[in-house]
């Protein structure tokens, strides 16, 4: 017998077959032949191993190694590694699944545990095509009771008492509807089931019809008995073939059993039910239109009264209820009214099924007691918003409904409350929208739907919806005009009041509700041509540029990287941003949050690419800007806002002087951000090149109010820009805060940045165990510095990680460096021994209700106090501007948050027209890029103000050097994640203040640039 060195046993089971084992086997053989190992390796096809999901699977003997998910392209590497080099190819190695992994029970999964199933009690439990299974779960028990033990008026009373209200949208009490019809004399009456579920995003009726059709039949029989009907119709949309198919089977089976047809259950009661297929008209969901449609005509509504209970289908008394309503009836009769009305709120009883869809993790059908809060539905049951995005609003009630924004997450959802908020319960479509959805665009979407579905009978609905759509479309295309919002509101009222049916009466709701809650977005579209959610593409060139507060031309400089024209790329950047080296390191890169590439794999690494340009581009020569204007301008504060304003003003010909309190300009960039994130020389270089070199005078060590008086500045300068930042830590407001060993994060970082030498040489000592309180970037900076000084650092944060305002990359880096983070804890007091800190007492928190930011509010767990032994506490819970330099009689108003108050109608001019303000001193702590934007705005406003007073024409920017932007894109985009940023290893950076991020190499940068989809390009 021939002896082989190695046996390759490739699985030949169906599963592996399906995942390409045949091809893999063939390639393996070819590869083995190619390297001349044919006589040493035997390739065998074996039976199934049972790991079909990981196929193709191959076992290699004598080693007994298992490889999985082998793709054809893996074969050469596999053969080469395993046979030639004799190494196991780790990448394809079978990994033991965690078999001990515990599977949660249904009660432990909020999606299932928080639901209360009445309408959906049989979901997933029965075979809908087998009537016996429905009967086994008490199907038809309510019907049996109603037919054998109850008189019609008793049934009606039971339903009235139960508090059941129509689930189709209106919420009219079901029992009352039945009562009216029962009281109308007539031999021929009809019972109708509305299964024309047309609201986009609603699919609860479909699910009930498909999963539990007998519950609907049972409800219809009971209702028929109550009103005295002997013919019923189920009007179902033709788009639901499976529902129709299963319902037909159910009807046939019920009839065979005598649960339908003549003499039901031997009680002498007759009822026939037929399915009537709708032919695709949304308006037919309206009751009178539905009846006209069954009559074989165009489904148009007719005026009420007479109500259908008096004159309905073919002019006979009729009751129409929705699927979900009927599906509740059987159990109400079987269990009694008091069983049902014990569930829910005062006026809305029982449960409601919602079709939860949109931007939510758990999409599906959800049945909850009326009064469950919106937050519970979206966050607890729905599992929150995917991809770390923020909740914006829930759209409830489809095209007839409205939006419920973030402020109302604690609202109990029932008929009354929902209407109060401007939505409607509707059939229960609940669409979750995240921050990437534009309110105006959503309103336009629903209006488009309504105008297309308007049957045309009532002119205001037919023409009005068209006109409203036109206005909305204009707004989303940047053609909105002042007065459009008011016009929309006016038309909405007319359409609502003058339409016959629900379609017209509710069609304007989405518009009204978005105007109610998102008026600012409408205004931004109309006035500033901005779409905050970056959806309305006619308003912008590319999402990244539109999201950037200074609208940096991101696609342009990325294209220039691809073309390896780095000098031009730098020129493009400084057109809008004087500090690209800074932003390439510490920007919060909002641009990346809207990058369309994220839909394919990951967003572009815009920040890293920016940094790459600044690392590699030669700097253009800066020549001083000639002073052409007589007005002199002072800037107080040498941070990013002040320096940006100074630069812009110098470029516009003004003599500008910056007063900086500390020894170097840069503000928080110099005195708050540690050097390992932003090296000093980089910052200083950019301030010199892009600000000082233009002729801006920067006077350091000059604090206004101390080194030079406020009055003197006021006298010597014509206009003053106040951009003093927010350099004072907010107190925690707990006992022991004034002890030795307690620092504010800003003060600590400033002291460290001022006197680095002393700290590093041990002349200044922090302590060995440090607690940092807070979750923002400043907390992380303080913690990472403390860690580098050799302390053992714990961050205490009162919410969860996902709620931390700090950048995710920063948090990760801190953890890598050994910083511990305790979540859901809040300090209560700082303890001491002989006046020196020896601990911080904390309480553990749990989540309560939602706050206005849409995050759950942490509340104290009683009795959870514990003390952390520390010798230093750094408080980083917020910062505020220091306004002590402002004299009382300056005419400058200061807000209760210690920020400047603006004059009426301006975004930068203060209550004293000579003074402008910006940056953190105006907004409270914000980002670098926010400060730069603020500086640009102030310069523009100051210049415009001066020119207006002088009666001069507006400033015209001199023609800039033309830089042509190459347009090269790839036809197909392969999935390819972001290029990784090379970093110092965590152990190398523990005690070092060297820059952590090392910057892309050219090859990586160009490859990353090639990932850009060039959304800015207009392809005709």
């Amino acid at each position: 017998m021939k002896a082989f060195r190695s046996h390759f046993l490739i699985c030949g089971g169906t599963g592996c077959h399906a995942s390409g084992a045949v091809k893999v086997k063939q390639l393996l053989q070819e590869e083995i032949d190619k390297i001349g190992f044919s006589d040493q390796v035997k390739l065998v096809e074996t039976g199934c191993n049972g790991f079909c999901a990981m196929g193709p699977i191959m076992v290699v003997y004598p080693e007994g190694v298992i490889y999985m998910s082998i793709k054809p392209e893996d074969v050469p590497e596999l053969v080469h590694e395993h046979l030639v080099k004799g190494r196991v190819l780790e990448r394809l190695l079978y990994k033991e699944p965690m078999t001990e992994q515990r599977i949660p029970t249904m009660d432990e999964i909020p999606f299932f545990a928080l639901q209360k199933l009445i309408v959906l009690k049989n979901r997933g439990k029965i075979d809908p095509e087998n009537i016996d299974e429905a009967i086994a779960r008490d199907g038809y028990a309510g019907m049996a009771k109603a037919l054998t033990e109850m008189k019609p008026d008793e049934i009606v009373k039971e339903i009235i008492d139960s508090g059941l209200r129509g689930r189709g949208g209106g919420g009219f009490p079901t029992g009352l509807k039945w009562k009216f019809c029962a009281q109308t004399p007539g031999d021929v009456k009809y019972i109708l089931c509305n299964a024309d579920e047309g609201d986009p995003g609603a699919f609860m009726d479909r699910s009930v019809l498909e999963g539990d059709p007998h519950a609907v039949i049972e409800g219809m029989v009971i209702a028929a008995k109550a009103i005295g009907a002997h013919q019923g119709y189920i009007y179902c949309r033709a788009e639901y073939p499976l529902a129709i198919h299963r319902m037909q089977i159910a009807l046939d089976q019920a009839k065979e059993y005598g649960l339908l047809g003549k003499d039901i259950l031997g009680t002498g009661f007759d009822l026939e039910i037929e399915i009537y297929q709708g032919a695709g008209a949304f308006v037919c969901g309206e009751e009178t239109a539905l009846m006209t449609s069954i009559e074989g005509k165009r489904g148009m509504p007719r005026p009420r009264p007479p109500f259908p209970a008096v004159s309905g289908l073919w002019g006979k008394p009729s009751v129409l209820n929705n699927v979900e309503t009927f599906a509740s009836v059987g159990q109400i009769i079987a269990n009694g009214a008091s069983w049902y009305n014990a569930i829910g709120t005062e006026k809305s009883k029982g449960t409601k099924v919602f079709a939860l869809t949109g931007d939510v993790n758990n999409v599906g059908l959800v049945e909850v007691p009326m009064g469950t809060t919106l937050g519970q539905i979206v966050y607890d049951i729905g599992g929150g918003i995917p991809n770390g995005k923020k909740f914006k609003a829930a759209q409830l009630g489809g095209p007839s409904g409205g939006m419920i924004p973030i402020d109302y997450l604690n609202t109990p959802v029932d008929f009354e409350k929902v209407v109060e908020l401007g939505a409607i319960m509707g059939s229960g479509g609940l669409i979750v929208l995240n921050e990437d959805k534009c309110a105006v665009d959503i309103a336009r979407f629903f209006m488009d739907f309504c105008q297309e579905e308007s049957c045309g009978k009532c002119t205001p609905c037919r023409e009005g919806t068209k006109r409203m759509l036109e206005i909305l479309t204009n707004i989303t295309q940047g053609k909105g005009r002042e007065g459009d919002i008011e016009l929309l509101e006016e038309m909405a009222v007319v359409i609502k009041n003058s339409s016959l049916c629900g379609l017209g009466q509710t069609a304007p709701n989405p518009v009204l509700s978005t105007i109610r809650y998102f008026r600012d977005e409408y205004e931004a579209h109309i006035r500033d041509k901005r779409c905050k959610a970056v959806v309305c593409s006619p308003l912008f060139k590319s999402p990244c540029q539109h999201t950037c507060p200074v609208e940096m031309d991101v696609p342009a400089y990325i294209a220039l990287i691809r073309a390896e024209r780095f000098a031009d790329a730098y020129k493009i950047m400084i057109k809008t941003n004087p500090f690209p080296s800074v932003c390439g390191r510490v920007c919060d890169h909002k641009c990346q949050s809207k990058c369309r590439r994220a839909g394919l794999d990951e967003p572009l690494a815009v920040k890293f690419l920016k940094r790459f340009i600044t690392d590699n581009a030669p700097r253009p020569q800066t020549v001083p800007a000639p002073v052409t204007r007589k007005e002199k301008i002072a800037v107080v504060g040498g941070g990013p806002a002040g320096l940006t304003a100074a630069r812009d003003l110098a470029l516009r010909g003004y003599k500008t002087t910056v007063f900086e309190e500390l020894s170097e300009a840069g503000g928080m960039l110099r005195w708050g951000i540690p050097a390992y994130r932003l090296p000093r020389n980089i910052l200083a270089g950019e301030i010199q090149d892009n600000v000082a070199a233009l002729g801006v005078e920067i006077k350091c060590n000059t604090r206004v109010g101390k080194d030079i008086s406020f009055e003197k500045v006021d006298k010597e300068f014509d206009y003053i820009y106040l951009a003093v930042g927010a350099h004072k830590s907010q107190p925690m407001g707990i006992q022991g805060e004034d002890l030795k060993g307690v620092f504010g994060s800003v003060e600590f970082l400033r002291d460290f940045c001022t006197d680095e030498e002393a700290w590093l040489s041990g002349k200044k000592i922090l302590g060995t165990r440090v607690a940092v309180v807070g979750g923002g970037n400043s907390a992380i900076d303080a913690a990472r510095v403390a860690q580098r000084l050799g302390a053992d650092v714990t961050i205490l944060y009162r919410r969860e990680r996902k709620d931390m305002p700090a950048e995710e990359e920063e948090i990760l880096a801190a953890e890598e460096e050994g910083v511990r983070i305790e979540y859901l804890v809040a300090p209560t007091r700082i303890t001491d021994k002989n006046g020196k800190v020896n601990g911080i007492a904390c309480e553990r928190m749990k989540f309560g209700e939602f706050d206005r930011s849409g995050r759950k509010k942490p509340v104290v767990i009683p009795g959870s106090e514990f003390t952390l032994n520390v010798d230093t506490v750094i408080s980083a819970i917020g910062q505020a501007p220091d306004m002590t330099f402002i004299p009382k009689d300056s005419g400058l108003d200061i807000s209760k948050w210690s920020t400047f108050v603006l004059g009426k109608g301006s975004k930068s001019q203060t209550t004293n027209p000579k003074y402008f303000a910006g940056g953190d001193a105006l907004t409270g702590p914000d980002t670098v890029i926010g400060a730069i934007a603020s500086g640009h705005l102030a310069a523009k406003d100051i210049d415009s103000h001066i020119r207006e007073i002088n009666g001069e024409p507006a400033y015209v920017e001199p023609a800039a050097e033309k830089i042509d932007i190459p347009f090269i894109i790839d036809e197909e985009s392969e999935e390819e994640p972001q290029a990784k940023m090379p970093e110092l290893h965590a152990k190398d950076r523990k005690r070092s203040f060297r820059e952590v991020e090392l910057g892309y190499k050219k090859k990586a940068a160009v490859m990353e640039a090639c990932r850009c989809l060039r959304c800015d390009a207009e392809v005709s």
Binding site: G15, C48, C52, L120, D132, S207, D212, Y257, G364
Partner: protein, 122 residues
């Protein structure tokens, strides 16, 4: 089929409960493939086909396969429930043909719950 009376409803209920209860020998495992529109759209039919293929191939006779409507969690479709004698039912999500094969071979035949695909039990 004869028309039934109220008393018959109870009898049917008891009979079905009896028939559906799992027992050694005849009916050891019940597999439910959830086949609402969502499930079918997500590929429940292929899952069902691969299951039937496996059952035929394995020549087992004590496994009952049934379908039902949507199990409610559309984002996890296609879903399959496995009920084995004496054990809590396990709900599997986001199934495909090969995962179904693996669940059948490992869980149904060998009793190893494939926890990495499971959503919940009970």
């Amino acid at each position: 089929m004869p028309k039934i009376s109220v008393a018959d409803l109870k009898k049917i209920k008891e009979r079905v409960r009896e028939d559906n209860s799992l027992r050694e020998g005849s009916q050891r495992v019940k597999i439910t493939v959830h086949m609402g529109t969502c499930g079918v759209a997500a590929g429940a039919r292929t899952v069902m086909d691969s299951l039937m293929g496996e059952i035929t191939e394995a020549k087992v006779t004590d496994v009952v396969v049934t379908t039902s409507g949507c199990a409610g969690m559309c984002s996890k479709e296609p879903m399959v429930t496995i009920e084995m004698l004496g054990q809590e039912p396990v709900l599997y999500g986001k199934m495909d043909a090969n995962m179904m094969r693996q669940v059948f071979k490992r869980h149904v035949l060998l009793g190893e719950v494939q926890s990495s695909f499971a959503i919940a039990k009970g």
